[in-house]
Amino acid sequence: MCQACDSFLDRLFAKGVLHETGVDGLYGRGQAFEAVIEGMDRLITRLAEGDHAEVIRFPPGMNRALFEKSGYMKNFPQLAGTVHSFAGSEKDHLALLDNIHNGGDWTGGQGATDIVLTPAACYPLYPIVARRGQLAPEGGLFDIQSYCFRHEPSKDPARMQMFRMREFVRIGLPEQAASFRESWLERARGFAETLELPHHIDVANDPFFGRAGRMMASSQREQALKFELLVPIESTENPTACQSFNYHQDHFGELWGIKTASGETAHTACVGFGMERLALALFKHHGIDTNGWPTSVRAALSL
């Protein structure tokens, strides 16, 4: 096998860091990969120590009705994934088996369930916070994690269709949201330095759909509502966003009716760690074998 001409993804497969499934962007994770993810999780927890964020972990699916209300389909219809299930008769079942056997379309009769795949870890959080009623004067701070889905099959290992996102979410006054984001931009630099990853932070936009989306994206950039911490993985010209720092203004507060202690619409901000992307960045820069990683990086990840 030629090391030089194999892609990064091929080498990850060859060493069992990731396992191929036959679908681009959908991979099994090997022991070394998971050890790195766990190490980063602990490191992130330590960064946030003393913040006393409320911990919530989500399954990879969310309530379809809440997803509909979230407006995700307005902005990112191309990325969403829904969960469908068989709900037919015995006769329908036979037709389905027949179609599978003959290579026909057997999914046409599947009906939508009450579950959609979670597109971003913070989406299921807002309705939970809203249900609790008015915020306390200090606002809310959450430490959340979820597997997320985005339909964008790619050979770039950093563009997975299913991946974990660890997030911290601040809900409260505009100043609280702003200072939260500022402090995480600072912490993120320290985090990347500890892991000895080449990085820079830049203004960014979400992949909004269509022409309306082009306007949303330019507006998001002009207002500097989104920053990303970028690390070169597949290319130096187009480095990969491994963390994002988002200020939603009162968008989610308004949508879900979240009120501050003084009755104003709450502002929200979130910082997201793309766990798989960060792990891949480490494998890219420090090598496929974690035993060869710098001692300080191994120590930081308790490897």
């Binding site: 307005k74 022409r211 309306a212 082009r214 306007m215 949303m216 330019s218 507006s219 002009e222």
Partner: protein, 80 residues
Amino acid sequence: MLDTIRRLVDEQGRLAVAAEAIGDNADLYATGLTSFAAVQLMLALEETFDVEFPDRMLNRRSFSSIASIAGCLHELKEAA
């Protein structure tokens, strides 16, 4: 043209004040125009004036005031 733009701002902008009371150069975002309402306004302008805003105009600035919207429309109408 300005009257038609004001009507569409009223219909799509979801502002707290009537467009009639907004000066040609006043900042619509400061008046409460959200990014999403700006998109709705953009689509309504295209339909009403039978134009298509090119990518370079699909930004926050183009829709920031009644005068800037009129400026974009003039430019498109002249080019047509």
